[in-house]
């Protein structure tokens, strides 16, 4: 207490004492006592002197004596003046005090004043008037004041003002209908009366009887008014003790009842490696309690907390909340939103401000509140936790702190407090905090428990004050053994008794009320001293022994399970709203991280700029004329491949860390039972938008520099699809692995095969024979998005550019016709001739098995090929020889596989028939070839040669043309598995499917088949990429990858040691 205040108080006391007859001995003694509690003897003397002076102690009498001669009128006048002066002084003193003391302190002062007056029972009206003035200036409500006065002055409870704020601790209950509360004390002389001063939450008590009552170990004098502080306990000689918490809960039991019953029945927990973490856990609590959990290191405190909260699954036993099994997934929806968990590490979003962190959390919890209400609540909680002044500061991360460690912890707590869950689990909230901050935090938790919440707190090295705030303490020893469960101060007594220590009945210090929890652990963990006087590692009493003692001494009062749904304070918004909130939060967080935004947005255009400028070279038109011509830029196919790889790379790296970063926050939000789908959707949405921006900037810059014209949208769509695919792939990995480093190491593993199996670097025809086959892209390659993207872009660029699109159809017919006439036909003819020769040979020298096999095979080939030919449709808009067309059409409709007979029946005549068929096919194709050529020339004729040349130079690319037409492949046709496979001009023919679901085709096909229809390659490929993306989304949602990895981790290699 400061000097000024002390002076003010002294004056106050003095003035009051002065009234109506002046200071009495008893009053003065009271004052001296009061000073002695806080000050040293020298100062005490000083202040007593001061008091005397102000109270005119000793002076008043002489004054009275000397001035009695003046006559009564004068005296009365003087007295009146003095009274007025005093009143004024009182007012100014009180105002001064108002500015310094807290309300609780003021109430205590008031009590002190009343006590002082009560010391002599000199309750004169004047004094009371002044005291009432003091009370008014102190802002103590009238009703409360009256109650206080009544409490102090009256000797018996029956005479007291009846009020809810009175509690009687007696063997006889108050009369029926009384508002006062009652606790049965067992046999007791007189009563212990409690008064609650509501405004400040203080409890005052006095004892009216004659028994030997002890408050916190100190004997209580009759009619002495004492402050009943947290952690205090009344001990009566014959009755039960009364604890502070019991008192409080009795006072509160009518105000806010929360119906929670929390029962833990024989819970045991085993670690994954089989060791026992917790044993024989039995708990039973109801709402409105603050329970502490303490233990030696390695005792299992956090494990216990996690098991109780539902984060870990016990190996046996149950945790029942209102009768619902916490760990049963079937019943868990009853307990949704009931539990809150504050972890030790902070789970904050670094890039957002303190306010924003709390605001978005609140939005996810309270769907029905308006913006204003939400804001009010948030500000309220922040103010309560002393965070209002740093509301708009960014949280920052542990390495780059913007707010202090204590503030971070408080914010963590705020995140849970705001929704006031009915059951709260807190893991070491005070570690790392200053003692003032620690007290604040525990105060808050205490307040919450008073409101009816059930709170479990793992606490480490609490101060005495904090220790006493807990209603119950749960102590554990190493190995998960419970060793105590009961009143905190009692713990000291219990353990002292157990080891037969001196003073074991004193839980707390007599003078100062200080409890030393360290004592408890010193006793529990006391070690044996060896013959040299050194401490050994052996414990005097092992955990098992403490546990046995505990089992013997304690019986659990099991509370019945409350048969109603536990109260929920949570109203989570709809899935769509959740998704919106997640998105908003995430976007804000990303935007405020300047580095992140800069890199991610600039990366793409920079790469595009770099690459495009480097590969743009000028073509030599003449000896001194150089010009950039798109047509002659040989780097374009490679450019396309690199674009795809860059899109994949960017997509992966952006998403790889996303879920890992959010992991902590997900842990916290686990208890909110938010929708996984909403969370994932919001992530995916943000990543897709980012991909879109990156790819569009990339495409625009790259294509503009390289003069890729009129195809920006097409390029963008493919690159965007690929990037999205990579995004979802990255999310999968991010959700399956725990550290970002692992993920980044995996990235090459995912990207390099994309390059290898894209078809751009290594031709699909020239891969390991076990995977490659002629005429179809290997199935292995179909799993890699790059293959689809590359093909799509190459085919599209070739086929749909403004130049080639004029000619494509004609060129296709021409190419097909040429192939059939120049390559297919000669091969067939060769086979036929061979067959005839073999048949002739066999006729001469008899049947030979080996020859028969060859004959059969060749016939099968011819049969298959002709059958496939019938699947062709005659070309529509060409003018060719009528007869040739007729015969071809007839062939299409009339040919049956049986027309090509089995080897046994094969004859010269048969050969002739087949030859006729082949000839008519050839004739048809020759016609088509010429007609297509003409058709093509007609189209070209419509253009001026110069503009045509310009068109070609701007839009077509020669190097790419060589690629998609396979110009450099010398082998134009190949026999494989009884079929003739076309190797030349892949972009000009379509593969025939083997069955309706057969989508497989050769690389660079212009169209793909599926389910009976033919789709343009570009469209088909893009759809495939999106299909893969969707599949990956499902594996993400179901966490398939993570489960797979866990499963593989469970496979044991070698013998397991048990």
């Amino acid at each position: 207490m400061s000097e000024e205040i002390l002076k003010a108080l002294t004056q106050l006391f003095a003035i009051i004492s002065k009234q109506d007859g002046g200071v009495t001995e008893k009053e003065r003694e009271f004052i001296i006592n009061f000073y002695q509690q806080d000050l040293d003897s020298a100062t005490v003397t000083e202040y007593v002197a001061l008091y005397d002076r102000y109270a005119e102690f000793g002076i008043e009498e002489s004054d009275n004596k000397s001035e009695s001669a003046d006559g009564d009128g004068e005296k009365k006048k003087k007295q009146r003046v003095t009274r007025v002066n005093d009143a004024v002084k009182v007012l100014s003193l009180c105002r001064k005090i108002n500015k310094t003391l807290t309300q609780s302190q003021k109430v205590i002062v008031l009590f002190k004043i009343l006590e002082m007056v009560a010391a002599d029972r000199n309750f004169t009206s004047q004094r009371m008037e002044i005291i009432e003035t003091v009370a008014t200036v102190f802002n103590i409500p009238k009703a409360e004041y009256k109650l206080i006065v009544s409490f102090v002055t009256e000797a018996d409870s029956h005479v007291l003002v009846d009020s809810e704020d009175i509690l009687i601790f007696d063997d006889q209950p108050p009369p029926e209908g009384a508002k006062a509360k009652f606790i049965d004390s067992g046999l007791l002389d007189g009563e212990i009366i409690f008064l609650r001063v509501n405004n400040v939450g203080l409890y005052f008590t006095k004892y009216t009887g004659e028994d030997e009552i002890f408050l916190n170990g100190k004997q209580v004098r009759t009619n002495n008014i004492l402050l009943f502080s947290p952690g205090s306990v009344f001990k009566t000689p014959k009755g039960a003790p009364l604890y502070y918490s019991d008192l409080v809960s009795r006072f509160n039991s009518d105000t806010e009842r929360q119906n929670i019953s929390f029962n833990v029945v024989d819970m045991e927990y085993r670690f994954p490696n089989g060791a026992i973490g917790l044993r024989n856990i039995n708990l039973s609590e109801s709402s409105g309690k603050l329970i502490g959990i303490m233990g030696a290191s390695g005792a299992g405190k956090t494990t216990l907390l996690n098991a109780l909260a539902g984060l870990e699954f016990p190996s046996s036993g149950k945790v029942l909340i209102n009768g619902f099994d916490l760990h049963d997934p079937q019943q868990s929806h009853h307990i949704e939103g009931v539990i809150g968990y504050i972890a030790q590490d902070d789970l904050l979003i670094e890039e957002l401000s303190v306010y924003q962190n709390l605001y978005y959390n609140a939005k996810l919890c309270f769907k029905d509140l308006s913006e204003e209400e939400l804001n009010k609540r948030v500000v309220n909680v922040l103010t309560n936790l002393g965070l209002d002044r740093i509301m708009n500061l960014k949280v920052g991360n542990v390495l780059n702190k913007k707010i202090s460690g204590g503030q971070r912890k408080r914010l963590n707590i705020a995140l849970e407090l705001i929704r006031e869950p009915s059951i709260l689990f807190v893991d070491e909230p005070t570690s790392g905090l200053s003692s003032r901050d620690s007290e604040n935090v525990i105060d808050l938790l205490k307040e919450l428990s008073l409101k009816g919440k059930l709170i479990f707190v793992v606490i480490h090295q609490p101060s005495s004050d904090i220790y006493k705030m807990f209603d119950k303490m749960w102590l554990m020893d190493t190995g998960g053994f419970p060793v105590f469960y009961g009143n905190p101060v009692e713990a000291v007594t219990y353990f002292k008794k157990a080891t037969k220590q001196v003073g074991s009945d004193k839980g707390q210090c007599m003078t100062c009320g200080n409890v030393n929890p360290e004592q408890i652990f010193n006793i529990i963990e006391a070690r044996v001293v060896d013959e040299y006087g050194e401490f050994t590692n052996k414990r005097k009493i092992r955990p098992e022994e403490w546990h046995e003692m505990y089992q013997r001494e304690f019986t659990l009062d099991r509370l019945p399970d409350i048969k109603e749904e536990p109260p929920k304070n949570l109203k989570i918004p709809s899935k769509i709203t959740q998704a919106i909130i997640f998105t908003t939060r995430d976007v804000l967080s990303k935007i405020s991280n300047k580095q992140y935004m800069l890199i991610n947005l600039l990366e793409a255009p920079m790469l595009a700029l770099l690459m495009a400028l480097v590969i743009r070279y000028k073509y030599k038109l003449d000896s001194d004329q150089y010009e950039y011509i798109f047509r002659y830029n040989d780097n374009i196919p490679a450019y396309i491949l690199i674009c795809i790889v860059i899109a994949l790379f960017m997509g992966l790296t952006v998403s790889a860390e996303e879920i890992i970063r959010d992991r902590k926050i997900k842990k916290r939000e686990y208890f909110l039972n938010l929708s996984k789908g909403s969370y994932l959707s919001s992530k995916v949405f943000i990543l897709f938008v980012l991909s879109a921006i990156q790819t569009i900037t990339f495409v625009i810059i790259g294509n503009v520099i390289l003069d890729v014209r009129d195809m920006n949208m097409a390029y963008w769509l493919v690159l965007f699809s690929v990037s999205c695919f990579a995004n979802v792939l990255g999310l999968n990995i991010s959700s399956a692995f725990d550290s970002a480093v692992t993920v980044y190491i995996l990235i090459p593993l995912l990207l390099i095969p994309q390059m290898i199996l894209s078809g751009a670097i290594f031709s699909f025809d020239k891969l390991n024979n076990s995977i490659s086959e002629h005429g179809k892209v290997p199935i292995v390659a179909d799993f890699w998005a790059s293959r689809w993207a590359y093909e799509a872009l190459m085919v599209h660029q070739f086929k749909n550019n403004p130049y080639e699109s004029l000619l494509f159809d004609w060129e296709m017919y021409e190419s097909q016709a040429n192939f059939k006439a120049s390559y297919w036909f000669p091969e067939m003819e060769k086979k036929l001739i061979g067959l005839s020769e073999m048949a002739a040979k066999m006729k001469e020298s008899g049947k030979s098995d080996s020859l028969m096999i060859i004959v059969e095979n060749d016939l099968a080939l011819i049969r298959t090929e002709l059958l496939l030919e019938t699947q062709n449709r005659p070309v529509e808009n060409v003018q060719i020889d009528e007869k040739v067309l007729e015969t071809y059409k007839n062939f299409l409709t009339e040919f049956k596989p049986e027309n090509v007979v089995e080897g046994a029946k094969f004859t010269e005549q048969r050969a002739e028939d087949i030859k006729k068929v082949l000839d008519l096919i050839k004739a048809y194709y020759i016609e088509i070839n010429n007609a297509s050529r003409e058709g093509r020339d007609i189209v070209l004729n419509e253009y001026e040669p110069e503009s045509l040349s310009k068109l070609q130079n701007k839009h077509s690319n020669d190097f790419m043309k060589d690629w998609v037409r396979n110009t450099n492949e010398k082998i134009k046709i190949v026999i494989q598995e009884g079929r003739l496979i076309q190797k030349t001009d892949p972009v000009f023919f379509v593969s025939r499917p083997n069955h309706t679901l057969d989508y497989r085709s050769h690389f660079f096909a212009p169209e793909k088949h599926f389910l009976g229809t033919y789709f343009p390659t570009y469209l088909f490929n893009v759809l495939v990429i999106w299909l893969m993306t969707v599949v990956l989304y499902f594996t993400l949602y179901t966490e398939l990858l993570r489960k797979l990895i866990e499963f593989m981790g469970k496979i044991k290699f070698g013998k397991s040691k048990d």
């Binding site: 038109l621 120049s822 016609e927 010429n930 093509r936 020339d937």
Partner: protein, 290 residues
């Protein structure tokens, strides 16, 4: 090393082209062009290789400026242009091959390959042929034999595809280019042998026109035919006097008896005619290679 494509197999001349008197050679005038007789027509057209050899003999220095720029090969999109210029480049290729300028050989090779591919006859310019060509660079007879055989094969194929027009155009282009080179060089050197050669082309032109006549109704062919016809008119002023020599009896490869007569020919043409031939050829050629 790139392949050497020798399109000039098309235009080949046997040393005694004009003197071969086979009964068919007269019939061919009436013959329907699109038939097996085409070979004979085509055979009667002199090979630019011979002309190139002649030019070299005259001592004219190598000058690439006379030739068509191989880069233009990329500009020909219409099939008739492709065919014509295939012939042109073929001639050029023969020329540079004889002068053994290897870098230019490669360039013209590319041009030829490009156009041949576009006409789907790329397979007739394979590596084997190339090797043979280079090996027999200095043996004219062998060179001619190789190129003729190849041309026959290709022609058969084109006939099989009913694409004889391609053959004709290739021939026409090759001949045109040969004419152009010859006339240009003659202007410089005034070599009498070249002059004679130019005059002799009157007959070749007639054969060509016969072949071209069948095409003139096709799109783009009309103008070309007209141009060649113009040339024929100019050639009207050229006189060819042939005197029959003694007949020689021999057997050809098929065992048939062939009577040959060594004919002597003499060419009469004025300088003015020559000049106008030269300029007309230039004109037609520039249209062709545009």
């Amino acid at each position: 090393m790139k392949k050497l494509y020798l399109v000039l197999a098309l235009l080949l001349i046997q040393a005694n082209a004009f003197t071969k008197e086979t009964p068919k050679s007269h019939k061919m005038v009436m013959a329907y062009l699109y038939s097996d007789d085409l070979i004979n027509i085509l055979q009667s057209i002199p090979s630019p290789i011979e002309i190139s050899a002649l030019i070299k003999e005259t001592g004219a220095t190598y000058d690439r400026a006379h030739l068509s720029d191989p880069k233009f090969s990329k500009n020909y999109t219409m099939s008739h242009k492709k065919a014509l210029n295939l012939g042109v480049y073929g001639t050029d290729l023969g020329y540079v091959n004889l002068y053994e300028n290897n870098q230019d050989v490669i360039n013209y090779l590319d041009a030829v390959k490009e156009l041949a591919g576009g006409l789907n006859v790329g397979q007739y310019f394979d590596y084997d042929l190339l090797k043979k060509m280079v090996a027999s660079r200095n043996n004219l007879g062998e060179l001619l034999r190789i190129t003729q055989k190849n041309f026959e094969k290709m022609n058969t194929e084109l006939q099989g595809r009913k694409q004889e027009d391609v053959s004709v155009l290739i021939l026409a282009g090759g001949w045109l280019e040969a004419m152009h080179i010859t006339t240009t060089i003659y202007e410089k050197t005034k070599n009498p042998k070249l002059r004679e050669k130019i005059g002799e082309q009157k007959i070749t032109l007639q054969q060509l026109l016969l072949a071209l006549a069948e095409l003139k109704d096709k799109p783009n062919m009309g103008a070309l035919y007209q141009d060649f016809d113009q040339l024929r008119l100019v050639y009207g002023k050229v006189n060819l006097i042939t005197t029959d020599g003694k007949p020689v009896i021999s057997e050809d490869s098929n065992g048939e008896i062939v009577i040959n007569r060594d004919n002597m020919s003499k060419v009469e043409l004025t300088d003015a005619t020559l000049a106008s031939i030269g300029s007309l050829v230039k004109g037609i050629r520039s249209k062709v290679i545009k």
